[in-house]
Symmetry: C2
């Protein structure tokens, strides 16, 4: 699945097109992988904005980037054998060639939904943003935006596991019900409500100690006005600004409210914590085993469904981790 045209405004399925190519031959030291599933994250939309992103400039005609699970089809590298399950930056394609350093072995005995969700990039992002930047203490208030999303629904549950009071902000009443009734959030607020500001305030009576920001935009601005003294904001993503030709201005309250309330805003990328993934997966795995993490997945079938899955994700249609099964 290649990029047919870079989106100038809202992404559409026609920004992509299927292309057929031969199965490549692995060179010396290389590994040929066959993709079994890919995950899609909202941050990939930022990648399609070109130079504004950490992901590098996208190219029309190039295979759409992405990561997922794959089986080793042929290996010329020590440590990887035919049939091994691996995590790989497969891109949106059936077959991909990799150097061993790009691959990470995955436990075939674990539910693939867990490998792609809480034990994958989304889960690691939630974990490090929450524990390294948010650092909630028991009974502190943690707020997360895009709370029913791939990262958000894990952040909230992890924060509960750490003993915090958790408030989610999501884009529909249905998602809010899911968060409270099924995922254990203490409260949830629909950002599209006419009374959002009042409802948000009512849901954070003790103000906000940790705000995990996946959206930027108006929700970030609202959170800034509710931060407690010494509060921390983990800046993870800016989904409110990805899928548009006209990004909004910055949030009012920066930097004045940061000064008055001694608030810290810190941006992060999960890749900076790569040397600690194993440690995080051990802890996350324990939470799964204990039933504290209830991961959700929205699945699509077939590579041809990936563009629609991406559009749905950006429109807020999907819940939890968005996965395309190949």
């Amino acid at each position: 699945m290649v990029i047919a045209a870079l989106p100038e405004d809202r992404l559409e399925p026609t920004n992509f097109e299927l292309a057929v190519a031969g199965i490549p031959e692995p060179g010396p030291g290389q590994v040929l992988c066959r993709t079994t599933a890919i995950t899609i994250g909202a941050g990939q939309r930022a990648g399609l904005q070109g130079s504004a992103s950490y992901a590098g400039a996208p190219k029309v005609g190039g295979v759409m980037g992405g990561s997922g699970l794959a089986r080793v089809e042929r290996s010329n590298a020590a440590g990887f054998d035919e049939g091994d399950l691996v995590r790989a930056p497969t891109g949106w394609q059936d077959y991909s060639l990799h150097e061993p350093a790009q691959l990470e072995g995955a436990d075939a005995g674990v539910d693939p939904a867990h490998l792609l969700g809480p034990l994958g990039v989304n889960g690691l992002t939630a974990y490090f943003g929450l524990t390294e930047i948010g650092r909630p203490e028991p009974d502190q208030t943690v707020v997360v935006s895009a709370a029913a999303g791939s990262v958000g629904h894990l952040v909230g549950q992890m924060a509960k596991a750490l003993g915090a009071r958790v408030v989610g902000v999501a884009g529909s009443d249905e998602k809010c019900r899911l968060l409270v009734d099924e995922l254990g959030f203490d409260a949830a607020v629909n950002r599209r409500s006419d009374d959002f500001r009042d409802e948000f305030k009512a849901a954070t009576p003790d103000r906000i100690d940790v705000y995990f920001d996946n959206t930027g935009g108006p929700v970030l601005e609202s959170a800034l006005f509710r931060m407690a003294v010494g509060g921390r904001i983990a800046c993870c993503g800016v989904v409110s600004q990805y899928d548009t030709a006209s990004p909004a201005g910055g949030p009012r309250g920066v930097p004045g409210l940061l000064v008055n309330n001694r608030v810290t805003m810190q941006g992060f990328l999960v890749f900076d914590y790569a040397d600690r993934y194993d440690e995080a997966r051990t802890e996350i795995g324990r939470w799964i085993d204990e039933g504290r993490l209830n991961p959700r997945t929205t699945s699509y079938d077939g590579l041809e469904s990936a563009p629609q899955a991406f559009v749905d994700l950006l429109a807020g249609v999907t819940v939890g981790t968005t996965v395309v099964q190949l």
Copy 2:
């Protein structure tokens, strides 16, 4: 000097008026002080915006707040004797009553300009913002806004003492010359220049590791676009937004650039470091003794000049610490 009217737009001397009252009597445990000098800081303008500030709501008819040096005139408190030099939240008045906890002894053998500047609140603000939040490493680039101001001119010199490369942003060519020619800054950029963005970029070829922000507004926005990966922004003040009826929107680049470059923005108030003032003053005193800190003061004579001093400060007329001698 009392508040005659709260400013609705730009501050004017007529927002204040002189009032005459009797010298108060110290009650049991109280200390009567006679003010010898007060300092004025831009942050006090935020205090006049009422509820938006950490300084509490101002009152028309009340004495304008502020801190300075004073002599103990009469004392009913152990530890303070007539004639002692003290730091005190005197307000803009000749005589003030204090509880002992509000007072701090000051060394009468030290130049009062040093006590009010680098060893006073401005110097402590510069010190803690720079060393606790900025944490520059040798040869890293430190940028400071309002660089010729009370805090800024000390931040830059302290950063030089710590081995950093220092760039100041100030409001006139004359101030920029002062910073480079007399205070040892490596470069300085006039924020009012038509080519500010280009000049700012040229002055930060290795991007910015530490940005000490006294202004918010357009300079903050420019700095955000020049931050290095892992950069730190110490949010100290928002002088660009204090003296106006129509505050600007937030800076573009928040939070997107914070994420991409893993930048931390942290607001702080010097009062949170009160238990470490002695440690800081020892280090700052050493820098003064070694000739690394060259503090500047703009002095005014008489309480009646305080309103004009404040207006001048906000208009960028003053350099270094603004002091009113009583």
